[in-house]
């Protein structure tokens, strides 16, 4: 690890000012320290934000405001989340391990970096780690890589489970910048597609501190999170589906779907949802939804399996939710 200075922020103003001067925030540290040990990231100064007052979950306007420092464990165990937003609890519990979830924070989870093997290996070219050096993953090992939203500069996937559920739930990110101004950015506009600048992953400016994530009042319908991975626990998603389906007298009256493991960011495609709404569930309908989702898929040799796997996982998820409510 490269040497760095360490300071502890005593206010959000203090934290954003330090970040504006080039320091990096550290929250749970479970991603940042991992990357610092490998010198994939080498901040010269860390601002520890853990003692800021951002640990609360509060009910607001029928929805929920989740402080940026709420741990993944506390969020998954929160009774309101379990009852009103079960897809979020399920997604969190499907990620990492008990130990990691105790440290991992809401803000840090949204900002965790890709698990692309070449991004982690400083001996390899990588446009995300070192812009302009190339992408070693193309034609390489791509089991964890994306098939949607990629570019010819980067095919990395976003690894978060939590963010997929939050994307489904129309979460909004509350951001404070140096000077104290606070703005809200819907999660749908928070991540940036890689294009030719895969090193720029979100709309955040250097001094921007995530202070909270808000969820609107829970929408109607059954929710679920289905994750497919290489082992039954403690592994990143090959494919995951967060879904909400509302049924009325055998017709799908509302549907929302978000995907993990296959997109350069937590993935959502309104056209897929539109195709389902107002229709009666059937194998043909589900196949059509999968067709729309995967129409622009760009698999590599190594991860071509993700196209049929995504199709089957989506269909299984829809069957589960439509069946449950239709019955």
């Amino acid at each position: 690890m490269k040497p760095f200075d360490y300071i502890r922020a005593d206010s959000t103003t203090h934290a954003t000012r330090a970040a504006g001067q080039g320091a990096n925030f550290i929250a749970g540290g479970t991603n940042l320290l991992d990357l610092m040990k490998l010198e994939v990231m080498a901040p010269h100064k860390l601002v520890d934000i853990n003692r800021l007052d951002l640990h609360q979950i509060t009910e607001v306007d029928g929805g929920l405001r989740i402080g940026a420092l709420v741990s993944n464990s506390d969020l998954a165990a929160d009774m309101t989340v379990r009852k009103q937003y079960p897809v979020l609890s399920e997604a969190l519990l499907a990620g990492a391990s008990g130990q990691l979830r105790n440290k991992a924070t809401t803000g840090g989870n949204l900002l965790q970096r890709t698990r692309c093997y070449y991004f982690y290996d400083t001996a390899m070219p990588c446009n995300k780690r070192e812009p302009g050096t190339g992408c070693q993953a193309m034609e390489g090992a791509t089991r964890l890589h994306a098939i949607l939203g990629t570019s010819d500069a980067c095919i990395a996937s976003h690894p978060s489970d939590m963010a997929v559920a939050m994307r489904l739930l129309d979460a909004v990110v509350e951001i404070e910048s140096a000077g104290g101004a606070v703005r809200s950015v819907p999660l749908s506009e928070f991540y940036r597609l890689p294009g030719q600048t895969p090193h720029i992953e979100t709309v955040l400016e250097p001094s921007d501190l995530i202070i909270a994530v808000t969820l609107p009042a829970p929408a109607k319908g059954a929710q679920t999170y289905r994750k497919v991975r290489d082992r039954a626990s403690y592994a990143f998603a090959m494919v995951s589906v967060a879904a909400r389906v509302q049924m009325d007298e055998g017709t799908i009256t509302d549907a929302a779907l978000a995907f993990g493991g296959i997109g350069s960011q937590p993935w959502r495609n309104p056209a897929v949802e539109k195709a389902l709404i107002g229709q009666k569930p059937s194998p043909e309908l589900f196949a059509k939804a999968a067709d729309i989702l995967l129409a622009d898929a760009k698999p590599q040799k190594d991860n071509a399996f993700k196209v049929p796997l995504t199709r089957r996982t989506l269909i299984a998820t829809l069957k589960e939710l439509c069946g449950k409510d239709a019955a």
Binding site: G29, K83, G98
Partner: protein, 168 residues
């Protein structure tokens, strides 16, 4: 970085480079070598210990971030002649072969049983809001952050289940 840590009830003062992880602080600065270093990247769980009642990977946490925290390591759970229930059960059930992952397993299981008491659901819980029935599947899922290279898993699960059931 000057850091004050309360470890197993005793206050320790540390003055180490900011890069020092909690794991390295214990092993290299404070002579508490019960906590083990495996992968050093949060993947194996050998370094698991308990901070303010919660299990964490001490390799992915900086010592300086823990100023004022209460830390429990395997040394603090029990000692020869005065073992904790879980330590006892691991011995009885042969919950190890080489023993390297054992401190992490036991610290992890100790805090995990508290999570169960607190009603936390897991990925395999059938019902997110119901009572937890600590089946073997539940134990395996909740302990998946602790790898055992000797694969003593069946015995580890037995030891944990027996402790949870209060039998000895």
């Amino acid at each position: 970085m000057k850091t004050s840590l309360t470890i197993n009830g005793t206050e320790h003062q540390l003055d180490a480079d900011s890069r020092t992880t909690l794991l390295d602080a214990l092993r290299n600065h404070l002579d508490l070598t019960g906590t083990k270093k495996g992968c050093d990247h949060g993947q194996c769980g050998a370094c698991t210990l308990i901070v303010n009642g919660r299990r964490i990977n001490s390799c992915l946490s900086l010592a300086c971030m823990h100023d004022g925290d209460e830390i429990t390591t395997i040394e603090g759970l029990g000692q020869p002649g005065n073992l904790s229930d879980l330590q006892d059960a691991f011995v009885k059930h042969d919950g190890f072969q080489c023993g390297y992952c054992t401190p992490g397993q036991i610290c992890s299981a100790t805090a995990m049983l508290q999570e169960v008491k607190d009603g936390w659901p897991s990925h395999v819980s059938a019902d997110l809001t119901g009572d937890v029935d600590l089946t073997n599947a539940e134990i395996s899922e909740r302990m998946s952050g602790n790898l055992c290279r000797c694969a003593a898993y069946p015995n580890i699960v037995d030891a944990i289940r027996e402790t949870a059931e209060g039998r000895k």
